[in-house]
Symmetry: C2
Subunit: 246 residues, 2 copies
Amino acid sequence: MLKNRQTIRRYANRPVDRALINRLLTEAERTQTMGNLQLYSVVLTEDPTQKEQLAPYHFNQPMVRQAPALLTFCADFHRVTRWCEEREADPGYDNFLSFLNAATDALLYCQTFCTLAEAEGLGLCYLGTTLYSPQDIIRILHLPRLVMPIATITLGWPDEQPAPTDRLPLSAILHEETYHSPTRADIDRDYKPKESLPENQEFLRINDKQTLAQIFTDLRYTRRDNEAISQTLLATLRQQGFLEKE
Amino acid sequence: MLKNRQTIRRYANRPVDRALINRLLTEAERTQTMGNLQLYSVVLTEDPTQKEQLAPYHFNQPMVRQAPALLTFCADFHRVTRWCEEREADPGYDNFLSFLNAATDALLYCQTFCTLAEAEGLGLCYLGTTLYSPQDIIRILHLPRLVMPIATITLGWPDEQPAPTDRLPLSAILHEETYHSPTRADIDRDYKPKESLPENQEFLRINDKQTLAQIFTDLRYTRRDNEAISQTLLATLRQQGFLEKE
């Protein structure tokens, strides 16, 4: 099953039963979590008006409007903080460690949910754009202090069957005992198969680039964008209470 | 299967076949990843000397020395940066967004690996301590610039069968369309079952505390520790090249 998994961006015109979503979200709660605090929450978007509001901040990717359901997974220390307030405990979770702990919980939970959903035959697409416009998503979803959106999933019944994309050989990823920085020969061995794929060759031609790596550095994930978004992200963490005000 | 999953801290005295670990790590590569860049790497620790070195930084939890294998999952932009350097591309990934993107990739990959390993009957424990002493782990595992350890898993064949621990009801986690901050009544509804568990009542008695929340705020995850570790984390991100030097 997993061997053939692929991101699904086109969905059948058929709702995803709420009982099914609830069952999968509940089962995914078995995922390990820090101190069993479950430092995450999920905002479910089914209302077309809400989808319309969110779409521009996910770069108007068509699946945001087309998918029957969107799930925004959030790092959440708000709920635990509220619990503490109601229980005469003094919470100290407005800091960067707490953000990373909650983001970890949210991402592990999200991935278990994805695995379960795909095992049911559902298709999904993970939207990395959530980190690009966090302040607008926070506004639209009414996220309070100590809640930070981390990942959005579009979910539906597949209406396409794309071929699995390539992956690096394990030699690129696995290090025994200590990390070994890849030599030029390692890079050639691990990346040449990817670089030789016809679709990647075509990318170079269309974009008038010499190497596949330049597609990433010059077009898809540029230094300029990365640095601007990094500033937004840090400002948003500050706004949400996860970084000290300097 | 997932319904009964539980963290395993005691392992049988029996190795985990390397071919099995490699197969599971390879299968887990199907996990979605940013731009298909696979911004993660894994350092496998089997050498007892290395386990001995790492143990203190995981608070000497016994499973670190006892488990046949430790896997440290890292956010990794070093490999992609090396690729760019070998391909006349100018990488711009020494920033906070790139760290979060790589940490996301690493955590999603880690969780798929965990699900696959548990489906094979393996047991594992997720060590959150990786974020507590990142600089020592970086030193012991020889992690270069743009690699940050994010999660460690101890892995082995189970030698215990603990009962599943409690989880919050879905009402605590799921928000429809917009986030709704929990009222006092919501907190009572969602947390009272946990607070009433005999083992949690016993915790209060042993530690002379009035509420379960105080166990977390006063003993397990204190403001003082959280704030100190936050500073270490930010300094380590700076050291590894993921935060601008101010």
